[in-house]
Symmetry: C2
């Protein structure tokens, strides 16, 4: 479907994508964590997209099996090529 | 208002009340914690009450200043009288 293709393109084009909801504390924690690690994700706030947001959430479930937020996609190879993988690794986080 | 009186009565009649939403992970964590401590709260799932749920959430904000969930009310004196306060105290939790 067109929405499935659009989601795949979003995930393919970006090193980190977070599908989120603005009023959800779990989503807020993930966004803060990335900020703290110096990573700047593409954030898509599903609750701000009305009916399209609900459709996106269903599409994500079809593609990934996960229907909850936050739904996080990390392209480790893209991050590595940009030298941004290090902060996400356990050794860095153990500091 | 009638809804304010109803909320006050609910909080007054019960030792532990949790205003919650079924799909909210923060709310789930609070409910699990009480269960683990052997406390059986009155749980009110605002998202299952439609328009009345939204009104309740506004009423709680008017009464308490808090518009978020989970919104937890603990009547420590009631719990103490029933011998149920102990599990909630820090010494018990440190075990
Ligand atoms: N253990 C999961 C919990 C995910 C979860 O239950 N998310 C909730 C919000 S906190 C959800 O998506 N509920 C359904 C919805 O909002 O549509 C995680 O850590 O991501
Ligand atoms: N730090 C607060 C966070 C409360 C919060 O932001 N709750 C969110 C859900 S996780 C909320 O109520 N959002 C508005 C809503 O769902 O109406 C707590 O621990 O209770
Ligand atoms: S943690 Fe409350 S809605 Fe996600």
């Amino acid at each position: 479907s067109r929405m499935e293709e659009s989601v795949k393109k979003t995930i393919g084009d970006n090193s980190v994508v977070v599908y989120s909801k603005t009023w959800c504390s779990y989503s807020s924690e993930v966004k803060s964590l990335f900020k703290k690690l110096g990573v700047d994700p593409l954030v898509i706030e599903l609750d701000q997209l009305g009916a399209q947001g609900r459709q996106l959430q269903k599409t994500l479930e079809r593609l990934t099996g996960q229907r909850t937020v936050p739904n996080v996609f990390i392209d480790t190879l893209k991050l590595h090529r940009r030298g941004e993988l290090q902060p996400l690794l356990p050794e860095a986080q153990a500091k």
